[in-house]
């Protein structure tokens, strides 16, 4: 049961093969058994989860079930969840029991899904390894001496070790795709504005986007169907009519299901900087895509190399503004001793934030300060435009762009923790997608020395359904995504 896909679980519940209470208990038992080794969940509350599961079973008995009714899911601890601790991986919010639900949570609750627990993450989503969490590093189920990626590392580790059938994540510079890649999962960052950011604790508001992490593209589509949608309470939510992200997946599979699809291969993704064994697996995946009928075309994203520098100006600038709300007054941590109001702010923030969060706030404060704004912040925004224009030009030549998700497989815990620049460069292939606001997906494409690697698909704005279909067709003819780590029975 536990290795079944979300869509298989939907069927099992519909056919009364298992109840939601039984299914939820099954996963809670697995969390109790394995979470100590992985540190994937920061909060579990079996009583609350089982109460939700019971209500889901009642709803099904009353004939009012929707597809996800009764499906247990792990929620990244960045989504405010009423009555649940919502820590965002920070000491600053170590005692924050959210008084309200994020829109994403509201959507899942409305459909009758069950919250299995809140997953560990890099503090305020600032990190690529899940080592910056106040609650400790998450271990990669494929090798517990290694990182699961970040910032949605807890979500990825939980799904990879079969402690949850699927999970939510958020992606500001790669935080869904990179952990999905390192944990052998499928993860989708939608077009900016498709999933509401209301109640999703803000890091860099012009880049943050929520999305699903699951074991297949099919499951990602099911989750996205519930997560996406216009939300009045998010001022950058896009007013678009609802769509069924699974719509292309059910079509019968002809011999060449992707005939006519043009895959763009940017030279910048296939140069130096990527581990040769990862490059080899990506190249093999592209050969598989040709067999499915796709053609490839060489393209160029000439400003790609500027994405990391531009991101580390824009994201910290927005973060320094967003995180000014944590002042020890209305919620969160307040220092026990202080002299006056200013001192209370300074000490609460010094004690409540971890080192990486402070670094990014300081960078952001600096680049926005008088005399540096034009040279850094405006210049970064201009480069952001050049990067977005590169993609617009590329999509005149191709339908989808492919390359590696991450330049390496999972690295060792501690390996990059003391060198922020090395850590930042691990997001070199994912960051440009956030700057442009495009959808991006990572899917498993094989193993190097026992560690999973990810293939990244980048699509034009609002092409989620197509990306999911392109991933799904590959998953119909390969079984990388059905490999599970040993030791979590």
């Amino acid at each position: 049961m536990i290795s079944r896909s979300v869509s298989a679980l939907v069927q099992a519940l519909a056919e009364r093969e298992i109840s939601s209470v039984e299914l939820t208990q099954l996963y809670l038992d697995r969390i109790a058994r394995h979470n100590l080794a992985l540190n994937a969940f920061v909060t579990v509350d079996p009583e609350k989860s089982l109460a939700q599961a019971k209500r889901a079973d009642e709803r099904r008995a009353a004939g009012q079930a929707t597809p996800l009714t009764g499906i247990p899911l792990a929620q990244k601890d960045i989504f405010c969840t009423q009555g649940w601790l919502t820590t965002c991986g920070s000491k600053m919010l170590g005692n924050f029991v959210s008084p309200y639900d994020a829109t994403v949570i509201e959507h899942f609750n409305a459909t009758g899904a069950v919250i299995l627990g809140k997953t560990n993450m890099d503090e305020f989503a600032m990190g690529s390894s899940n080592e910056t969490s106040h609650f400790g590093a998450v271990k990669n189920p494929w090798d517990t001496a290694r990182v699961p990626g970040g910032s949605s590392g807890g979500s990825a580790a939980a799904v990879a070790a079969l402690l949850a059938p699927a999970a939510t994540g958020t992606d500001t510079g790669g935080s869904i795709r990179q952990p999905a890649s390192m944990c052998n999962l499928t993860g989708l960052k939608p077009t900016y504005g498709v999933v509401s950011r209301y109640g999703m604790i803000a890091y860099a508001s012009s880049l943050d986007q929520g999305g699903p992490i699951a074991r297949s593209a099919e499951d990602c589509a099911l989750l996205l169907n519930t997560m996406a949608g216009f939300d009045e309470r998010d001022s950058t939510s896009l007013e678009r009519s609802r769509e069924d992200y699974s719509r292309e997946l059910s079509a019968r599979t002809p011999e060449k299901p992707l005939a006519g699809l043009k895959i763009g291969l940017p030279g910048e993704f296939f140069g130096e900087g990527c581990a040769p064994e990862v490059m080899q697996l990506v190249a093999e995946a592209i050969v598989e895509y040709r067999k499915l009928g796709a053609e490839t075309v060489d393209i160029s994203l000439p400003n790609m190399k500027l994405s990391v520098p531009a991101y580390y100006v824009i994201a910290p600038a927005e973060a320094s503004s967003n995180l000014s709300r944590f002042d020890g007054v209305r919620y969160g941590y307040r220092a026990p001793e202080y002299d006056d109001l200013d001192d209370m702010y300074a000490r609460s923030r010094a004690q409540g934030f971890g080192a990486e969060v402070k670094r990014r706030i300081l960078i952001g404060t600096y680049v926005l300060s008088h005399g540096y704004y034009d040279a850094y912040y405006l210049q970064a925004q201009r480069i952001r435009r050049l990067i977005a224009n590169d993609f617009i030009a590329a999509f005149k030549q191709c339908d989808v762009i492919m390359g590696p998700t991450s330049p390496s497989t999972a690295f060792r815990i501690g390996e990059k923790a003391s060198d922020p620049v090395q850590m930042y460069l691990s997001d070199i292939y994912t960051i440009a997608v956030n700057l442009a606001g495009l959808p991006g997906l990572s899917l498993p494409c094989g193993f190097a020395s026992g560690l999973p690697a990810g293939l990244q698909l980048i699509g034009d704005y609002f092409s989620e359904a197509r990306l999911l279909n392109v991933a799904h067709r590959y998953q119909q003819v390969t079984d990388w995504h059905q490999q599970y780590p040993a030791g979590f029975d």
């Binding site: 012009s206 919620y331 300074a346 600096y366 925004q381």
Partner: protein, 101 residues
């Protein structure tokens, strides 16, 4: 370019984050490493390029200035709900150290 210790202290003050001397030293090293990475931007000629603040070039949607966060509760209970998570409150007010003598 390279930051000075004085600049780190100044920025930390602007950000309202207390830093010890030892922290300022180690932060200085890290920030200079990061700014060396960021410097790559300066070589790019961006004259005439419109800054991109946002992924979608859309106008900000406005809404009526009214209470939307109801928590499904009447006003006073709602206030209590939001203030439950505050470090210190009294009679519906947030308490902070005295700022006016």
């Amino acid at each position: 370019m390279s930051l000075t210790l004085e600049q780190v202290r100044r920025v930390a003050h602007l950000a309202r984050i207390e830093v010890s001397d030892a922290e300022a030293e180690s932060t200085l090293g890290h920030l200079n490493g990061i700014f060396a990475l960021i410097e790559a931007m300066q070589a790019v000629d961006t004259r005439g390029v419109e800054p991109m603040a946002h992924a979608q070039d859309l106008a900000q949607r406005l809404r009526a200035d009214c209470v939307t966060e109801s928590l499904g509760l009447p006003a006073l209970a709602r206030r209590a709900g939001f203030q439950d998570v505050a470090p210190e409150t009294e009679a519906g007010l947030y308490l902070v150290p005295r700022v006016i003598e």
